[in-house]
């Protein structure tokens, strides 16, 4: 087994996540939110809003964004960045769907270019 395949884990099937919804994956002490958009695209972000660490997995999913349930920050599912006037970003995890099975990579992507600090 090479290093790369070791990092990828099967976490469930696409239909386990409601359309325009999310499920949590607990990865040790980290919680990852795995989203399914209206057109069945799947995204994985750390389940923690860059604003006040709200659980993004509980937000309303629209287009390729999620609105945090605590204070309505809108986070892009593809870039992890806050939209509009808000600034901040959340870690993204590579995720893919093969034959209906969702596979998640357990190491986060490198920080998004232009990530705001603080």
């Amino acid at each position: 087994m090479n290093a790369q395949s070791k990092n990828w884990l099967e976490i469930g099937r696409l239909e386990d996540i409601p359309v325009r919804g999310a499920r949590k994956v607990k990865l040790g002490s980290v919680t990852i939110a795995v989203f399914r958009s209206a057109n069945d695209k799947v995204f994985a972000l750390e389940d923690s809003c860059p604003h006040n660490a709200g659980p993004l997995s509980e937000g309303i999913v629209h287009d390729d964004c999620v609105t945090c349930p605590l204070h309505n920050w809108v986070i892009s599912l593809s870039s992890g960045e806050a939209q509009g006037a808000d600034q901040g970003a959340v870690s993204r995890y590579p995720v893919e769907v093969v034959d209906g099975v969702i596979r998640l990579c357990t190491s986060p992507l490198a920080s998004y270019a232009g990530e705001a600090d603080g």
Partner: protein, 820 residues
């Protein structure tokens, strides 16, 4: 008046949309010129035939599609003979004679006999159960048949056939459409677009059979039982609808000696070949053309009115555009699609978006346009088609629509400013930009409703509403206050009230349908509009609408209140604020068992357990459920609590059983969704210990009965309530409170508390409606009761028994080692 005797006698045969419109023009120009008599073979007043499909699908009622009611005829002194068919015209004596022998003399005669559906000459075509789709009788026949379900076969996959198919499907029938050609609407659509359309119908649950030629209709006991195709297939069916075309009804005119070809031949002034006889509408033939759509009939109506008043009308034929009126399927077609060596085509396809656009060009001018899936540019293409605009300059981009023609027109305001004066804004009613602009200017109109009332623009199908609003803004400049309508969110330009109105008017039943039909600008809405739409649909179609949980805020999705750390708080319902040792013990046990960190008494007389992990929620509810608790809906845009004092049970000042009434109210109203949270209180005497006068709805019990208050607030704003009324009995108090709640449910904007709603529409207006109109009040009450039948399900119990289990468990739990 002596004048009356001098007036000319105008007799009209037929009372469809064309003569109806002609009369409007005539009366507007000179209301005193004629004594008017109408003979209508249908036993009805004039109604909007375009709207038969919405009647068939149940989205509208007959009353809603009436154009002129009995009062209108009376007011204009018009004698309307309903259900009387004219059988003969005597051109020598200038008289018409009806089936029942009634004779009417005319100075001028208008024939508007319309057309009749073409019946295929096949075996069984005369059976009971073979119907056409032409008038309200046909619709009623179909609706009656649909009540017993069964299978309907529609012969003909044109506009009418497809609308009938969608309508009958919506009425719960199994529906099959038979079409002779390989693809639907082959005159307008090419193969691929016809296929898209067939697919869309299959998705609606309608079977579509193309290349299907009907051989015969098979009877059993004189009724339709099955239909056999030429290829031998047999379809079982209880109803066959023939929608294969229409032919002008010209026989009466022919017998009278009028020159007739396909239809009754008329000149530009709408005169037939016989003096003082005119023809109009689908029965008329002008320049070799017979029309079956409404816009040309309206054009003719206008010219004929002029002719009748002595100013020769000048009808020049019409180019026609049409829209398929099937909710959820957008199809627009205009002009001519015949192939020819001198014709070119521009086609745009976006298969995944289900969009197809086709323009047919001749000499760089558009002569035909078909839009499928995305039809907003239809009127723009149609305008260029009618004006024969040379499009060579924008040939490369024309197919992408108006927005791509130079930067300036992306701004809707400049686009509307750039439209020519005679550009048609409202296709249904043939209203031009100029007509609307002059009406706005001359009559000082300032709102959409006023424009609708004065010009009829956007009053039929409503699809041009946006354009009309832009014209208002364009004409009035700063004095038009678009702030008056704040859009729901950036996904739309429509305000909450308009969205609610259109949901009902267009019979929209799902969020995607609302977004499609009301032209949402985002693909699936946002966190602002989706919960609002979900509520509006819950309220509009109780029992019918499947609540979209993904469009609810997390609290309403998991039936608990999310806290700052992502844990939840849980508040069980304690009816009227009463509890017992058993309940308190159960709560104490739950707190211990789940290590719940905080327990708090709320302002609404309930107990709140805070800091519960989401995964524990179902188990917490299960234990609470065993003690008889249901959800307290402390998280809901819905009925929260009814706070009470101890009333006559204990209090030496109590005048009525305020606790008992509070519990009764809460048991009656719990579970209902409302625009915003709803808090009630009942106090047993004017000392008002339950603080009823700062609640959404409050009751102060007095010796003589129940003083009902509403519109209080004690949060962001502090407001005392106003009194709605005082009623002597508890039953009446319940009726008024429930009716008030339902009125609020139906009228308020999402997240608008009662006090804001009441200030917006006026406390007096609400009192007037509830106090002075017992019928309206009882209707509100009944609608609330109706919606409660499906609302009072304990969401906690549902979830304890496994509903939405995915909400409460992680998709996967991976140990840190596996992740290494």
């Amino acid at each position: 008046m002596t004048q009356v005797n001098n007036r000319q006698k105008l007799v009209i045969i037929g009372n469809g949309m064309a003569p109806g419109r002609m009369l409007e023009h005539l009366l507007e120009m000179d209301s005193n010129a004629f004594d008017i008599t109408i003979f209508n073979s249908e036993p009805r007043v004039n109604y909007n035939r375009l709207m038969l499909s919405p009647v068939l699908s149940g989205e509208k009622s007959y009353e809603e599609i009436i154009t002129h009611d009995d009062a209108w005829y009376a007011e204009h002194g018009i004698c309307l003979h309903k259900g009387e068919k004219i059988t003969r015209i005597d051109r020598e004596t200038k008289q018409v004679i009806s089936e029942s022998g009634r004779i009417a003399a005319y100075d001028k005669l208008v024939i508007a006999t319309g057309s009749s559906p073409f019946i295929l000459p096949i075996e069984g075509a005369d059976l009971n159960g073979v119907v056409t789709y032409r008038d309200l009788d046909d619709v009623e026949t179909m609706l009656t048949a649909a009540q017993s379900g069964g299978h309907a076969v529609i012969i003909g996959g044109g506009l009418l056939g497809l609308e009938a198919a969608a309508g009958l499907k919506q009425q719960g029938m199994e529906v099959t459409v038979l079409h002779l050609m390989p693809t639907l609407m082959e005159r307008q659509l090419d193969e691929a677009a016809g296929y898209l359309l067939a697919q869309a119908f299959e998705r609606l649950g309608v079977n579509v059979l193309t290349k299907a030629s009907t051989k015969r209709i098979i009877a059993e006991n004189g009724c339709v039982n099955a239909l056999e195709l030429e290829d031998g297939r047999v379809l079982e069916t209880t109803m066959v609808i023939m929608a294969v075309g229409i032919r002008p009804s010209a026989a009466l005119a022919k017998d009278a000696g009028c020159e007739v070809n396909r239809g009754i031949i008329v000149n530009d002034a709408m005169q037939t070949s016989v003096a003082d006889i005119y023809a109009l509408g689908e029965c008329a033939e002008h320049n070799g053309m017979c029309y079956g759509l409404v816009a040309p009939l309206y054009d003719m109506a206008k010219e004929l009115a002029k002719t009748l008043l002595g100013e020769a009308g000048n009808y020049q034929g019409s180019v026609t555009a049409t829209k398929l009126k099937v909710t959820g399927i957008d199809l627009y077609s205009a002009g001519d699609f015949a192939q020819g060596s001198d014709r070119e085509e521009i086609v745009l396809r976006d298969a995944s978006a289900g969009v197809y656009k086709r323009l047919v060009l001749k000499d760089n001018r558009i002569i035909g346009a078909v839009l499928y899936g995305e039809t907003s540019d239809g009127p723009w293409f149609f305008d260029m088609l009618k004006k024969q605009t040379d499009i060579s300059e924008m040939r490369e981009t024309v197919i992408f629509g108006q927005a791509y023609q130079g930067g300036a027109q992306v701004d809707p305001m400049s686009a509307v400013a750039a439209l020519a004066d005679d550009a048609e804004i409202c296709g249904c009613n043939g209203i031009s930009k100029q007509t609307i602009c002059s009406a706005i200017k001359d009559k000082g109109l300032t709102s959409l409703d006023e424009v609708r009332a004065h010009t009829k623009a956007s009053a039929s199908c409503g699809s041009c509403t946006g354009l009309v609003e832009q014209l208002l803004a364009y004409q009035l400049g700063d004095s038009y206050n678009p702030q008056a309508v704040t859009p729901v969110c950036p996904c739309t330009d429509l305000g909450h009230d308009e969205v609610r109105r259109l949901i009902i008017a267009k019979g929209l039943r799902t969020i995607p349908q609302v977004m499609q039909e009301l032209e949402w600008k985002s693909s699936c809405g946002c966190a602002k509009c989706r919960p609002a739409l979900n509520y509006y649909l819950v309220c509009a179609w109780p029992g019918d609408y499947a609540d979209d949980y993904q469009s609810r805020f997390i609290n309403e999705r998991v039936h608990a209140n999310i806290q700052k750390d992502g844990t939840y708080s849980v508040v069980p319902r304690m009816w009227g604020g009463m509890t017992s040792s058993n309940q308190l013990r159960a709560i104490a046990d739950v707190v211990d068992k789940f290590n719940i960190p905080s327990v708090k008494v709320t302002g609404g007389q309930r107990i709140d357990m805070l800091g519960i992990a989401k995964d524990d929620l179902p188990a917490v509810w299960e234990d609470l459920g065993k003690a008889g608790f249901v959800s307290g809906h402390a998280y809901a845009k819905g009925l929260r609590t009814v706070k009470t004092c101890v009333g006559t049970d204990w209090c030496r000042f109590g005048t009525q059983n305020s606790t008992g009434f509070g519990i009764r109210l809460e048991k009656f109203m719990w579970g209902s969704w409302t625009p915003a949270k709803l808090k009630l209180a009942v106090s047993g005497c004017p000392r008002n210990c339950a603080e009823a006068t700062c609640k959404d709805i409050g009751v102060i019990c007095v010796d003589s009965g129940y003083e009902i208050h509403f519109g209080g607030a004690a949060g962001l704003e502090i407001r005392g309530t106003e009194v709605l009324c005082t009623v002597p009995s508890e039953d009446e108090a319940l009726e008024y409170i429930v009716a008030l709640t339902q009125m609020y449910r139906e009228q308020a904007r999402y997240l608008e508390r009662i006090y804001k709603w009441a200030h917006r529409i006026g406390f007096d207006e609400i009192r007037d409606r509830l106090m002075n109109d017992a019928t309206a009040r009882k209707a509100y009450f009944e609608r609330f009761v109706q919606s409660q039948k499906v609302a009072q399900v304990d969401p906690w119990e549902e979830r304890v028994s496994g509903h939405d289990a995915h909400e409460f468990t992680p998709l996967a739990t991976i140990s840190s080692e596996a992740a290494e």
